[in-house]
C-alpha cells in the first residue's frame, strides 16, 4: 500500500504570493495514498530537507512528492534527501508549481491554486507507480585508440598520454604528420609548419604511454563505451622496423620512380621510400604497387644494399587486437578535384595548379626548392591569380558549404608569393573574405596592404590562353565591370572535402556521417566532439573543415572527454534507461532500427522453459542506452519500458487530473 508524503514549498513569496498554499495542503491530504502533507518556507533549505527526512522515517513513506520549483532545478537535492533517509532516491517526484503555476498565473490566484493541486495530484499518482532504481556501473578499459596521425590525432594522443592513459595511435600512411606536414608556413603567424609540428611528432614516437602503429588501419570495432575491442590491420611494409636504422641506402639505390603524392605529384619518389625527410618513424616502406621485385620478382637491389638485412619481401599483412575504452577519430580531409571546372580549362592548361601544389612549391623543403614555378616552362611567374571557392559554395559543380580555411590560406599564399618573388603581383578573386579568428583579419590586411595583393570581388567565369599567358576573366563587382587579368600562373583554392574513406570507417565504427561524408557530432552546439555513440569522439576535419588552431583545440577537447570518461574504474550511469521484457518480446527488431545509439542488440533465448529451440529477443546494452524512450513508444507488444517514465507512471498522471 502506497504511503506518499507531499511537501509543498512557499519558495519565500514566489509560490505563496500567488498560490493559496494552505488550501493546496488541505486538498492534498484528501488524495488517496497520501499519508503526510506538509508545507515549509524553503523546502530546499537544510531544515526543509530535514523535515522530509524525518517524515520519511516517522511515517514509513514509500514515495515522496515535493511541490516546489522545476525538477530541473532541485530534483538531485531532494533525491539525496530521500536517500539519506533510507528511501530509494528514485521514489521522488517533483510537482513543478513554481515555473508552471505561480509564476505564470500571477493574476489568477484561484486558477493557480487549482492548477497546483492538480499538478500535485498528478505527481502523487505518478510516484505511486515509481519503482526502485539503482545507478548502473559499467567497467572501463583505460586505453584510448586514436585513428589518424595528423595534427588532430597527434595532439589528442599526446594530451591523453600526458594524463598517463595508454594510447594506441594508428596512421594509414608510413609516417604521422598528415596534411600539416605538407604545409609551408601557417597563418596567421607565418611560423613554419615543420618547425612546430616535428617536435610533436618526435614526442609521439618517444612517449612511454603512446603505442604508435604506422601503416595500419582499423578493420573492426566491437563492444560499447569503456569496453571496445578493435581489430587493426598492420599493412606489410616489407621492412623490418626493429632492425632498420633508417640510413636511406635502399631509397637511394632503388631504380623505380613513382609520382610523389606527398609533393602532389610534382616530383618523383622511389618504390621504397620514406614520405618526407622528417618522417616519424623515419623508416622506409616498400610500395607494393610499384616495386618490381614484388610485382615481377626482378630487382631486389634494396635487399642487397641493406647492411642490416632488414628487407623482407615475404612480409604479409598482420591483424592485431587492442582493447580500448574510448576512440578518437581524426581522419582528416582530402581536397576536391577541380576537373569539373571545364570553363577554366582545368586539365588542359598546365599553369593552373591547386593550392596544395602551390603550398608544396613554396615550401623550402619542397620539390622546387621553395620557388613557385610554372609547370609548363619552369619559369618564375610574375602575375599570379588566386581563385577562391573552387568547389566550395558551388552546388552545381562541387559542394554547398564553405571550406572555411581558403580565405586565410589564400591570403597567406599571396604573402608567401611576395616573399619568394619580390616583383610578383597577386590577384585574388573572392566572393566574401571570411577571416573570423584571432589575428585573422589583421593577417588579411597584411596581404592587402603590405603585399599589395589585388582583391577582386567576383567569381571567375573563364580562363583562356593567349600565347603563353592565361587570361582570367571575372567580374569586379565593386566596380561593376568585367575584368581580365593576364596571368602567368593560376592557383585554385580547392574545397576541403572529407577523407574519402570516412563513410566505410563510420559504418565500421557505428557512428553516423552527413551527406558529404563528414562524421556527425552528437549535438552541433553542445556536444561538438562527441558522437552519438558513447565513447567515440571526433577531432579535426573528420567532423567539418577546420584550421589548425580549431583542430588542435578540438583534439584537446577530445582528450579531456577521454580523461573524464576514464576518471574512475567504472562509469556511473543514470538508471533511467530502457528495459526489455523478454517474455513478451516478439523479436521484430523495430527497436533496433529506431535506436539512435545502437544500444539494442539481439540475443537468443530458449523458446520455453527447458526448450532446445531458440528465439530471438531484443537486449538493451546498459552502457550505451541514453534513455530517450524511442524504442518504448515504437514497441507494439509493449515489451520495453523506460525506467522513470513507464507507461503506468504516465497513465497515472493522465487519469489523475
Amino acid at each position: 500500500m502506497a504511503r506518499v508524503g507531499v511537501f509543498t514549498c512557499f519558495c519565500g513569496a514566489n509560490i505563496a504570493d500567488f498560490i493559496d498554499v494552505p488550501q493546496v495542503v488541505e486538498a492534498t491530504k484528501k488524495i488517496k495514498g497520501v499519508k503526510v502533507s506538509a508545507e515549509y518556507k524553503y523546502m530546499c533549505s537544510d531544515p526543509g530537507q530535514q523535515m522530509i527526512r524525518d517524515a520519511i522515517i516517522q511515517n514509513r513513506l514509500t514515495s515522496v512528492v515535493v511541490a516546489a520549483c522545476s525538477p530541473r532545478m532541485h530534483e538531485k537535492t531532494f533525491r539525496k534527501a530521500l536517500s539519506d533517509a533510507g528511501l530509494n532516491p528514485y521514489m521522488l517526484e517533483v510537482a513543478n508549481i513554481r515555473e508552471h503555476s505561480s509564476w505564470v498565473h500571477q493574476k489568477d490566484k484561484k486558477a493557480a491554486t487549482e492548477k497546483a493541486s492538480d499538478l500535485i495530484r498528478m505527481a502523487v499518482a505518478k510516484s505511486i507507480a515509481n519503482e526502485q532504481l539503482h545507478e548502473i556501473s559499467v567497467p572501463v578499459t583505460k586505453r584510448a585508440l586514436v585513428i589518424g596521425g595528423g595534427i588532430a590525432g597527434i595532439q589528442a594522443a599526446l594530451d591523453i598520454a600526458d594524463a598517463r592513459i595508454p594510447v594506441t595511435l594508428i596512421e594509414r600512411s608510413p609516417s604521422i604528420g598528415g596534411r600539416m606536414a605538407q604545409l609551408d608556413e601557417t597563418f596567421p603567424t607565418l611560423d613554419c609548419s615543420q618547425c612546430i609540428l616535428t617536435p610533436k611528432m618526435v614526442d609521439v614516437a618517444s612517449h612511454p604511454y603512446i603505442e604508435l602503429i604506422p601503416y595500419s588501419e582499423v578493420i573492426e570495432l566491437d563492444g560499447y563505451v569503456g569496453n571496445y575491442k578493435a581489430k587493426i590491420r598492420k599493412k606489410a611494409s616489407y621492412v623490418n622496423f626493429s632492425t632498420c636504422t633508417g640510413c636511406g641506402a635502399c631509397t637511394q639505390k632503388c631504380p623505380v620512380k613513382v609520382s610523389n603524392e606527398f609533393n602532389m605529384g610534382i616530383d618523383k619518389r622511389k618504390a621504397i621510400y620514406t614520405p618526407f625527410p622528417q618522417a616519424v618513424p623515419n623508416k622506409p616502406v616498400i610500395d607494393a604497387e610499384h616495386c618490381t621485385m614484388l610485382l615481377k620478382g626482378k630487382c631486389g637491389i634494396c635487399a642487397k644494399v641493406c647492411e642490416k638485412g632488414s628487407i623482407d619481401f615475404k612480409m604479409v599483412d598482420e591483424v592485431i587486437e587492442r582493447e580500448v575504452g574510448a576512440v578518437v577519430v581524426a581522419t582528416g580531409y582530402d581536397l576536391w578535384d577541380p576537373k569539373p571546372y571545364e570553363e577554366y580549362g582545368v586539365g588542359r592548361y598546365k599553369d593552373i595548379i591547386t593550392s596544395l601544389e602551390f603550398e608544396r612549391m613554396v615550401s623550402a623543403s619542397g620539390p622546387t626548392n621553395g620557388l613557385p614555378l610554372r609547370p609548363s616552362d619552369g619559369k618564375v611567374p610574375k602575375n599570379v591569380v588566386f581563385i577562391k571557392c573552387i568547389g566550395s559554395r558551388d552546388e552545381a559543380k562541387g559542394i554547398e558549404y564553405c571550406s572555411k580555411i581558403c580565405c586565410m590560406y589564400t591570403a597567406k599564399h599571396a604573402i608567401l608569393l611576395h616573399h619568394k618573388v619580390h616583383d610578383s603581383h597577386a590577384y585574388i578573386f573572392y566572393m566574401d573574405i571570411r577571416a573570423a579568428g584571432k589575428g585573422y583579419e589583421e593577417f588579411v590586411k597584411r596581404a592587402q596592404v603590405e603585399t599589395a595583393a589585388t582583391y577582386l570581388r567576383g567569381r571567375v567565369s573563364k580562363i583562356y590562353k593567349k600565347g603563353d599567358k592565361l587570361i582570367v576573366r571575372g567580374e569586379d563587382a565593386q566596380l561593376g565591370q568585367v575584368v581580365e587579368v593576364v596571368a602567368d600562373l593560376v592557383v585554385l583554392a580547392t574545397a576541403v572535402i572529407p577523407y574519402k574513406e570516412n563513410p566505410p570507417l563510420a559504418r565500421l565504427l557505428g557512428i553516423s556521417y552527413d551527406k558529404y561524408g563528414y562524421m556527425s557530432e552528437a549535438h552541433p552546439k553542445l556536444r561538438p566532439v562527441e558522437t552519438a555513440k558513447a565513447g567515440i569522439f571526433l577531432a579535426g576535419c573528420t567532423q567539418a573543415p577546420k584550421d589548425i588552431p580549431d583542430t588542435v583545440a578540438q583534439a584537446s577537447a577530445c582528450a579531456a572527454k577521454v580523461c573524464g570518461l576514464f576518471s574512475g574504474d567504472t562509469m556511473k550511469k543514470d538508471p533511467m534507461i530502457s528495459t526489455i521484457n523478454t517474455e513478451n518480446c516478439t523479436g521484430c527488431q523495430n527497436c533496433v532500427t529506431v535506436c539512435p545509439y545502437q544500444a539494442i542488440v539481439t540475443e537468443e533465448i530458449p523458446l520455453g522453459h527447458g526448450s532446445k529451440e531458440m528465439r530471438i529477443v531484443a537486449k538493451i546494452n546498459e552502457g550505451v542506452c541514453q534513455g530517450c524512450g524511442s524504442c518504448v513508444a515504437i514497441c507494439r507488444s509493449m515489451s520495453i519500458n523506460l525506467a522513470g517514465f513507464t507507461d503506468p507512471q504516465i497513465i497515472n498522471e493522465i487519469v489523475s487530473i
Partner: protein, 162 residues
Amino acid sequence: MEAEVKTTQGAIVSVENPEITAPADWQPVIIGILCNWCSYAGSDLTGTSRIQYPPNIRIIRVPCSSRVDPWFIIKSLQATADGVLISGCHPGDCHYISGNYYARRRFLVTKKLLNFVGYHENRVQFSWVSAAEGPKFAKVVAKVTEDIKKLGPLHRYKKENF
C-alpha cells in the same frame, strides 16, 4: 476548418456532439506532454520570465517527444482532457539525435486518424519549442487554449469510463 464556439441557452456546445454541453464558465482541461530537454526547459523559462498564459494546461514531463506513444493521446482525450498539446525539440535539435523525427511521423498520422473518427483537428496539437523559446511556449499555450475553448467540452466516452 475553423471552429466557432457555439452556445445554446447560455451553455457551450461540443463541436463533435451537440448533445454535450457545458456551463458558460466552462474551462477546458489541456494535457501538455513536453520533452525534457527543449520544451520542458522552455516552459520553465516562461516561468522564470514571468510570462503569463492561460492556466488550463497540465504538464507531463517525458524525456523525448519520441517517448510519446499515440495511445497516450487517445487515453488523454478519453479520460480527462479536452485537448492535448505535445511539444518537442525543433528538427535537428533533438537531444537524442532523431527522436523528434520519428515522433513527427506518428503525430501526423495520429492527428489525422483522430480527426477522421470524429475529433476536431484542433483537439490535438503539436509544437516545436526550444529551451530558449519561453515567449513562444506562452504563445503556443494561449493559442491552443483559445482553439480548444472554441471546440467546447469533450466527454464523449467519459461517463462510462470512470
